[in-house]
């Protein structure tokens, strides 16, 4: 039996990795200026009833597929594909005076499997 097999690997990156360690932000002490200086412009700026919030995002999308195909009729006999869309997210919340009142971090990109 003769078959044509093919693999595809795709990578999509959006944004830049975080510029500093989130541990540099001290709740109740760091200010909006400190965060801007250390992390640069936020990806999103949100207004809340009790102050602003900055969101920093870095996204990576990994795709891989394996296809088994009839070389003459081009009919696919078998296809396996997998895609992973993960993001590193940093949320910094401020009070009305611009002092940090909350930080949340989620590192997903480094934990992604390569295939």
């Amino acid at each position: 039996m003769c078959a044509a097999a093919g693999c595809t690997i795709g990578r999509y990156y959006n944004g830049a990795p975080l510029r500093a360690e989130p541990s540099a932000i001290v709740q109740g002490q760091s200010t909006k200026s400190d965060v801007l200086r250390q992390f640069g412009p936020p990806t999103q700026i949100m207004h809340q009833t009790d102050g602003d919030a900055f969101v920093y995002l870095y996204e990576q999308y990994n795709y891989s597929s394996f296809r088994l195909q009839d070389p003459i009729t081009r009919i696919s006999w078998f296809t396996y594909s997998r895609s992973l869309d993960n993001r590193d997210r940093l949320l910094v919340m401020f009070d009305f005076t611009g002092v940090v009142r909350g930080v949340a971090i989620d590192h997903q990109v480094a934990a992604m499997p390569s295939l």
Binding site: G6, G10, R11, Y12, Y13, N14, A16, K32, G40
Partner: protein
């Protein structure tokens, strides 16, 4: 070189001859002038100065506008679109961006690899109640783009 060696070379030539490489570049808006950005002073430069210096921003704060019944979509201009002056009056922050994307792909007989990286230069400027620059941040992330995808990552 034996028969198997000749076959091996023949297969290599066949693969190379029937493979393809793709490179792609995308650009949105214009690069931000770093000399102009260096001239911005906290507590001194006004909102009007910023508009004169850098032109209309790609994104503006929409909080006040939504509060008076203007929808979020109307408040955010599309890239390249000049927002009406009245939309800028009450904005508390402006964002200027320059976006680039670098992509590459290898199309072989049995294996394909695609890689696309998108980054942007971003300048965010916050204003105080007197419409003077309270704070700002600039990041030039486009310089982090890999030129040849996987090979230069």
């Amino acid at each position: 070189m034996g028969l198997s060696g000749i076959r091996g070379w023949g297969l290599t030539v066949l693969v190379l001859a029937t493979s393809g490489c793709v490179m792609a570049r995308t650009y949105r808006d214009q690069p931000l002038d770093e000399q102009k950005i260096a001239g911005i002073q906290r507590g001194v430069t006004t909102k009007a100065d910023i508009l004169t210096l850098l032109g209309p921003p790609q994104e503006i704060d929409a909080r006040e506008l939504t509060a008076v019944g203007v929808s979020f979509d109307q408040a955010l201009p599309r890239p390249g679109e000049k927002p009406p002056a009245e939309r800028l009056v009450s904005a508390r922050w402006f964002r200027y961006t320059y976006e680039r994307g670098n992509g590459m792909a290898m199309i072989l007989i049995l294996f394909n690899y695609l890689d696309f990286d998108q980054k942007n230069d971003s300048l965010v400027i916050f204003f105080d109640g007197d419409d003077k620059v309270e704070d700002f941040a600039f990041a030039k992330d486009t310089q982090l783009l890999p030129r040849y995808g996987f090979w230069s990552r």
